[in-house]
Amino acid sequence: MIKILTPFEKISKQNRTLILLGWLVLLIIIWFATTSGEKHLFPSPAQVLVGFKDLYKEGLVVHIFNSLSLCFISIFLATVISLLFAYAWPIPVLKSISEFVTKFRFLPFTGLSFYITMVVHEARAMQVWILVIFLTTFLTTSLIAVIKDIPQEEFDHAKMLKCTRWEVLLQVIILGRIDYVIDVIRQNLAITWMMLVTVESIVVASGGLGFLIKNSDKFMNTGRIIALQIIILLIGLGLDAGINFLRKALFRYSKI
């Protein structure tokens, strides 16, 4: 008993699972207990269950599909653009451009989306490009950080094997860190997912989970909002685990 309260003590896998289950049960009890009265801010489990049912009837699956396809298209495009910026970073003449792109992550969302709405008129394309622009800044920042973290020994090793500077770029950065690209996507997935729901709630014309939240928000349907939050959280966690699995499955040498 003392062991689980002592810092840095090692506990068995079984005990770890038991602790996790204990916290989950406690959370559910608190949820039931605090929402059993007449007035409560947080919706009760029953209200959330009703929320789930309503959402399902309103085409939840189609909305999830819409959100996921928006997520994948944006990540794909943003990754391709970010990789170009990141791979250009070691080239002196292009370094400033890559670094400049990373600074854009401090720009507010709304201002830029205003300009995008003026240029792009189709709702879906608008959502995609808002997301791509913002994601590119975050992904480029992370990818450049990956390159900066490569030990000098790896570059020296390539040079010692008579690699030209372009071969060093190809072998050490592009091929040598391709598994890190997947990990960078995984690490930025939380922010992608968060931005995606926000973008969908700003540009509501093409549905998605953000659109559903916006609708529920309007009618103060808290049960539905929590049901949606749970769905968004679970999909996010599922994507995170899926991408991590993909990295390990595709790259045997990847041990990040």
Binding site: D156, M160, L161, Q171, G176, I178
Partner: protein, 276 residues
């Protein structure tokens, strides 16, 4: 055992390296020649560099291998592409192989892929390359690891792969920066075996390494250089240079079992290191 000096393999003259205004190493001069022994098929050269930390050993190695530019001096190595006796060329990046303390390898290439990559600039045909790789994997005990990635190899296996890779790519010169640091007894034995294999495979193979283990340096090397801060006109300077050289071949201490004379030499080297 009788030995004879032949062609010059490595010639370093007045080598100096400075970062901004700070001189790291200065006036390094050395000559290493090919040595032939009676009754021995091939004797590679093993040269050790010892010295206290911060005396410029790693900087010297990086300059020697062309990884960092020098401020003055020249480094010449035997030009094996030229059949003229004593033909020499200036060192370029990649001419002298370099194995760092971590035995860095390409993390995305298996042992076979890495060795194939290091042979890409040779004139061998694909079949010849495959045969050469197969032969080395067998000789160096790496047959079972041919399809493994660096993260799946043991320290000793990584080190052997790194050495073969550099041997394939460079011109018979290999520099190892502290190859024994952090290794257990078993791995140290493996590195020793690697040195032996290198020496046996060609007369021209020249292994240059740095170490803090003086006894190991005496056991393996035929020449030991001490790098330290020199005292010039009674004043101790702040740059590294060669302060002492011990040729174990001329001293009659090379290629023989450890004895009292080796112990005396060890004490002498430690003294040199302490005063520089």
């Amino acid at each position: 055992m009788k030995h004879e000096y032949k062609e010059t393999l490595l010639y370093v003259e007045n080598l100096s390296v400075a970062y901004d205004d700070t001189i790291i190493i200065k006036d390094i001069n050395l000559v290493e020649k090919d040595v032939i022994r009676d009754g021995v098929d091939s004797t590679g050269q093993v040269v050790a560099f010892v010295g206290r930390s911060g005396r410029g050993k790693s900087t010297f190695f990086k300059a020697l291998t062309g990884l960092i530019p020098t401020n003055s001096g020249k480094i010449l190595i035997r030009d094996f592409a030229n059949n003229e006796p004593n033909a020499a060329k200036s060192v370029c990046e990649g001419d002298i192989g370099f194995v760092d303390q971590k035995y860095t390898l390409f993390r995305h290439k298996t042992v076979t892929e890495a060795l194939k990559f290091s042979l890409r600039k040779t004139k061998l045909s694909n079949t010849e390359k495959d045969e050469k790789i197969k032969l080395y994997l067998k000789e160096w005990g790496l047959e079972n690891c041919k399809d493994k990635y660096p993260n799946e190899l043991s320290g000793g296996q990584r080190q052997r792969t790194a050495i073969i890779e550099q041997l394939f790519s460079s011109d018979q010169f290999i520099v190892l920066d502290e190859p024994f640091s952090g290794l257990d007894v078993g791995n140290i034995e493996e590195v020793k075996k690697s040195f032996e294999l290198l020496g046996k495979s060609s007369d021209f193979n020249t292994v240059i390494f740095s170490t803090h283990d003086i006894e190991l340096a005496i056991e393996l090397a035929q020449t030991i250089y001490v790098i330290g801060h020199p005292t010039v006109n009674g004043k101790k300077e702040n740059y590294g240079t060669i302060v002492a050289k011990y040729d174990l071949r001329d001293m009659g201490l090379a290629w023989k079992d450890y004895c009292d004379d080796h112990l005396k030499l060890s004490k002498e080297i430690i003294h040199q290191m302490m005063i520089s």
